[in-house]
């Protein structure tokens, strides 16, 4: 098993990043699956990361407890802002959550005594192992896949198709939306907490606009039809820059071109494309 140790030694940070990014993609999948365009996930990630990192750094809280609190606090914040915010729809919801994200980032930046301000938090213990991330990932994926065929999943799909009709069917649309938003926040917080404990260092600017947009790109690129789409999107967006390392200076350029090409040829997401190919091979008509 020596090769495995070597492999892990070389690629552990990358693999852990893939894991936490897939968690983030799943967190935005939850709201996208209800047709909600929220982009506060980077902010929730920040809250989770700072909560957990401060707990292990300053109070010596056990890692597991820090992780749990790192998921709970963002969920609590989501519950508080969810009720007024989720009344908005479409682009307005996106903008409101984006503005909320900026407020969180700037508050962290200015609360220097607690968070270290722009200098960030340094020397966070590297406690996250591959098993932690794998466990979180499998758990999240299991729950979301179970949703897909359940009453909750059907309700979410119905809300995405037609919110008013769903409400007229007697479903509590607001409660389902809030549920998806809060659970998404918890997942993003958990991803942040895990991420902070293998990167050694966090700073507010990691959780700004660019990160929010990157998380959204993972969700949309993979496809919002299934949790597997989010997994695929998270993996592609994280690995693409690494796979293009050989291109040197041109790496970001090619990265951007690949993003554009994927979207143009598969606007419903990569997962949709794979489903299309599978159907074609099994001889069934590709209907959507």
């Amino acid at each position: 098993m020596e090769w495995l140790d070597n492999f892990w030694a070389t690629y552990s940070t990358l693999l852990l990043s893939v894991g936490t990014n897939v968690l983030l993609a799943l967190s935005i999948y939850l709201t996208l699956a209800c047709g909600l365009l929220t982009v506060a996930n980077a902010a929730f990630m920040a809250i989770g990361a700072y909560t957990a990192a401060l707990l292990t750094l300053q109070t010596g809280t056990p890692f597991l407890l820090a992780l749990i609190l790192g998921a709970l606090l963002p969920a609590l914040v989501a519950m508080l802002i969810g009720r007024p915010t989720l009344r908005l729809s479409g682009v307005y919801l996106a903008m409101a959550t984006l503005a909320f994200g900026e407020v969180v980032r700037i508050l962290i930046l200015n609360a220097e005594d607690l968070t270290g301000g722009a200098l960030g938090l340094n020397g966070i213990a590297q406690l996250t192992t591959g098993f932690d991330v794998a466990f979180a990932l499998i758990g999240a994926l299991y729950v979301l896949l179970r949703f897909a065929g359940s009453r909750i999943g059907r309700a979410m799909a119905a809300i995405r198709q037609d919110e008013i009709a769903t409400e007229l069917m007697g479903l509590n649309v607001r409660a389902y939306k809030l549920f998806a938003f809060v659970l998404g926040a918890a997942l993003a917080g958990l991803a942040g907490a895990l991420n902070a404990h293998f990167t050694f260092f966090i700073s507010p600017n990691e959780y700004g606009f660019e990160r929010a947009v990157e998380i959204l790109a993972m969700g949309v690129l993979g496809g919002t039809g299934s949790p597997w789409g989010a997994v695929l999107g998270g993996v592609v967006i994280t690995l693409l820059p690494e796979l293009l390392r050989g291109f040197g200076h041109y790496r970001p350029l090619i990265n951007g071109v690949v993003l554009i090409v994927i979207i143009i040829y598969s606007p419903q997401g990569i997962w949709d494309l794979t489903r299309f190919i599978r159907r074609r091979h099994s001889g069934k008509p590709a209907v959507n």
Binding site: F209, G256, P267
Partner: protein
């Protein structure tokens, strides 16, 4: 002092408004949140800078060069990205993700060609005279920036209101289907909008580059955030709202730096924005629209 701040706010606000106009045009007509608008803005600044340095063009010709470059970029943007996605009937988020890819492409190619460092206009290319009017000092450059921004906005507003193409554009923003039924060349107008919006962003890029005398590959990012803020303030897709929102942000920034201090400035701005969205989702100046199925 007050009058001086007033001048600063108007010139900054004018540039914000110009940038936001392009952003809101693409949203209003094509229904796309164009996250590459900041990169196009940066492209405008680089085109003008290199027209001045390499071709030794005078400033006004350099601005023209920026208009041509960013207009061409807008044409390509629609031709290569938006049009294929329209043809495929893509979901509304797809073009937005594609513009993220484009923003990465543009800023990384500019960085590859010209480097990541901060570039400046050569001193001799900029007018240095200042005018003094009763204690207020305004540089000739600032005056040109303000005038250019206002003239462009005036022309645009007049065209949208009075000309045939302006009316067609407004009709298209209302409903593409109805516009097509009325015999309007919808595809052509979409492309025209993309060109117009991009060149407005490009001019804003030159003006900010002149104003702050700093040109660098990621200069579009903070501007994009501000553009989004302005467009929310004014109501998404609302042309007049973008103008008012631009000046509102210009004034808010200049006066809060002058009288409150700059540390919590952005938090106050975005906190306000968040509150406005919750209270008035159609923007400060927008009419409330209730859309139900």
């Amino acid at each position: 002092m007050l009058a001086q701040q007033f001048i600063n706010a108007i010139s900054l606000g004018g540039v914000y408004a110009l940038f936001a106009l392009g952003f809101t045009l693409i949203f209003g007509v094509l229904g796309i949140v164009n996250l590459a608008h900041g990169a196009v803005f940066m492209l405008g600044a680089y085109s003008a800078l290199h027209a001045v340095i390499l071709l030794r063009l005078p400033l006004m010709a350099a601005i023209l060069a920026a208009i041509v470059t960013t207009g061409a970029a807008g044409w390509l943007l629609d031709k290569l990205i938006f049009a294929p996605l329209r043809a495929r009937d893509a979901p509304h988020l797809a073009p937005m993700i594609a513009t993220i890819g484009l923003a990465i492409c543009l800023s990384s190619s500019v960085e590859g060609f010209f480097g990541a460092q901060n570039l400046r206009f050569p001193v001799e290319a900029l007018p240095t005279e200042t005018l003094s009017l009763g204690g207020i000092r305004i540089t000739w450059l600032e005056l040109q920036i303000v005038l250019l921004a206002f003239v462009l906005m005036g022309i645009l507003m007049w065209c949208l209101k009075q000309t045939r193409i302006g009316r067609a554009l407004r009709g298209l923003a209302e409903s593409p289907k109805a516009a097509a039924l009325l015999g309007i060349d919808v595809e052509g107008l979409f492309r025209f909008t993309s060109v117009l919006a991009s060149l407005l962003g490009g001019v804003a890029g030159v003006l900010i580059a002149l104003y702050t005398n700093a040109v660098f590959p990621l200069m579009g990012q903070p501007m994009l955030h501000k553009g989004i803020a302005v467009v929310i303030l004014g109501g998404m897709g609302d042309i007049r709202g973008a103008l008012l929102g631009g000046f509102f942000l210009g004034f808010a920034e200049v006066f809060s730096v002058a009288y409150i201090g700059s540390t919590m400035r952005d938090a106050v701005a975005f906190g306000l924005l968040f509150a406005i969205l919750l209270l008035r989702p159609d923007g400060l100046f927008g009419k409330a629209t209730q859309r139900r199925a």
